[in-house]
Subunit: 438 residues, 2 copies
Amino acid sequence: MTYRPRPISGFPEHLPEIRMVEQSMLDRIRATFESYGFAPIETPSVEELEVLLAKGETDKEIYTIERLQADETTGSEARLGLHYDLTVPFARYVAQHFSELVFPFKRYQMQRVWRGERPQAGRFREFLQCDIDVIGVDNLALTFDAELAAVAMQALKAIGIADVTLHLSNRKILQGYLTGMGCKDLVGAVRWLDKAEKVQPAELVRGLIPCFPGPTSEVAANLAVVFSRHISSGTAFIEHVRESGVQNALLEEGVLELKQVIEELGHLGIDDVVANLSIARGFDYYTGTVYEGRFADQPDLTVVAGGRYDDLAGAFINKKLPGVGLSIGFSRLFYKLLQTNKIETGRKSPTDILVVLPSAERRAMALSTAQTLRARGFRVETYHAPQKLARQLSYAEKKGIPFVWFPPFEDGNPHEIKNMETGAQTQTDPETWQSDAG
Amino acid sequence: MTYRPRPISGFPEHLPEIRMVEQSMLDRIRATFESYGFAPIETPSVEELEVLLAKGETDKEIYTIERLQADETTGSEARLGLHYDLTVPFARYVAQHFSELVFPFKRYQMQRVWRGERPQAGRFREFLQCDIDVIGVDNLALTFDAELAAVAMQALKAIGIADVTLHLSNRKILQGYLTGMGCKDLVGAVRWLDKAEKVQPAELVRGLIPCFPGPTSEVAANLAVVFSRHISSGTAFIEHVRESGVQNALLEEGVLELKQVIEELGHLGIDDVVANLSIARGFDYYTGTVYEGRFADQPDLTVVAGGRYDDLAGAFINKKLPGVGLSIGFSRLFYKLLQTNKIETGRKSPTDILVVLPSAERRAMALSTAQTLRARGFRVETYHAPQKLARQLSYAEKKGIPFVWFPPFEDGNPHEIKNMETGAQTQTDPETWQSDAG
């Protein structure tokens, strides 16, 4: 009787032909991050529970790790948990290595994170995030808020994704506006506005009324008009806010910041961003610019998220470390591409050329032909046994290897190469052959 | 009062300047694996405990994961553990996806693994392994045994490591020899021979005597001579085995296999391998070729290990899947390089060029200059604030950015670039500039 292996819900894995596409996308994201000078770091998969819970209770489900063969001597050790995002580990990292980093510190981090969710279709328990953050000491220039948005959009473009729009707002606009309107329950109001795009305007208005003193359906209606479903390009959002007539210093600050960010994105040549004043992203963390990247055909699927925060590592050291960061939810995004058949797979192997093995006696020559081609940068396999040619060609075909190389079957004969797509077979030389397939 | 962040014993992390070196090494290892046609896969970080323990008891310490906020509904789920190597997950992967893979299946896998060890200096609890394996159905050509050794050596060469020697043997030699000598306790004898390089010959002989019938100090002495500290290049080992006069069919098979592997390595241009008949690598798993890569100056530090096995996935499906594989213990290797100051670090950022920000008014121009350079493949930062030039240059210096770009401070003036190493500053153009720094 044998154990039948089965997938574990929430822990995806892929066939090589899919993994090759994924890996190439991750390479391109990484190259984009580096093209803006972000430096790579990785942190351990675990943190002390005290670190993971430093911000107080978290709504993220945490996996702890325990030694299966634990004994009593481990009792004194701190309990460890798998990180549920890359922000908390990064905060701990910056605090711990503070004196060895140069600020503004720009880092990217592409790692797996874990959430101890109950198994459920389409819900990941292990997934890959690609994070970028810039951290300053005491203050951080607003220019980075534009840069982050540009990096995210260019990273998406680099992996061929054109149907994600980056929605931008500034938390000061929302908070200033609400304050200017006399709101007595900011948290409650934000919670409703967070749903602005999902509920009907009338329901939104009903939800907002209790957040203000007095009978205030006009206030609520005004709010619904300003913050619900209003998406604009360029700086048209300013007009929209002005029309409402509300005045407040914080609101004004938010408007100017969002304006500058959008203008700078223009200078960077990035124009597929929109102002969307309903973006709130919770209330406990972000204090300025907020980002949300959404697929055009599935706007409730957020694949990019982030924003500006006042203090990254306050829980750890006595420094004020403001920053701006965002996270590309790579696994989610990749899953969506897979679900909608947008992943083009073909080759089951990275091999460019299969070198045929003519006979056992000519193995040395086949092996050295392969080495010559490898030294020139090609990815090469030598067929493992002197089997019938049809069988060797069939191996190349099944793996999607684009070229088959025939070393001379007898001394004095030339090398030949076969293009598996066109079927063309020509004389060639391992020292000089060039792929015309690009 | 703030929590003071501290490192967690056994879970290494690095500063960006170290991580950049590590990442570049991993890229080069990956490129080497692909140059031989190995395809990438990744598996989840966890497996069901049943899978991790499928081979019966393991001497590897396993970390299980538990939901911190667990509730009674999770009781029915299989328990999950972090994988402690990449071989067990790979076996499960091949069994699970058997019908979708093309055989011989060549895969590489570069992932973190975890061991629930007690904290101890120099002992990793999370580390990175780089594995390659080739799996056949029913049988697998011996040529792959040579290929794997070649790939490992080329991967080490690609990351600048010249002082690791690959020690090769074949388990059939050891087993055949012992049988030919009348051994009645193969396991006991192998356990002693495994220590052959660490103990004195006299102690080894004393340990071996009880494994044979009768008073057999001659037998033990003969064994010690053949298997202890005998390291030879080329096929000189054959002579050495023949001299001992023992004859046995399995021994003969092992000698011929090792001979072929070493000869093929010659055809592949790999000669820094040695035959070392004392390599045993336990007794429960490997059945033919065995590999061990060791630093010349620290031979007890094994950084490459692997071998030929009869059946990868027998515990999972009713197929015979022989294979050959090896693992580069990257974290161990990297730690050794760090300890011996062999990691050359300098730059704290991947940035090639820092574009100076002349003034707030000229930000648009600075930003678009940076974009032009990025589009040409350079990694570029634009300084974030119109601060004094000395401050901007100092930022470049602290991060080790090799070039500083001066966009025109007034319209009509030319761009200039400064080489931070030589101090030379010249007129230039963002559309045409080429780095002479290679």
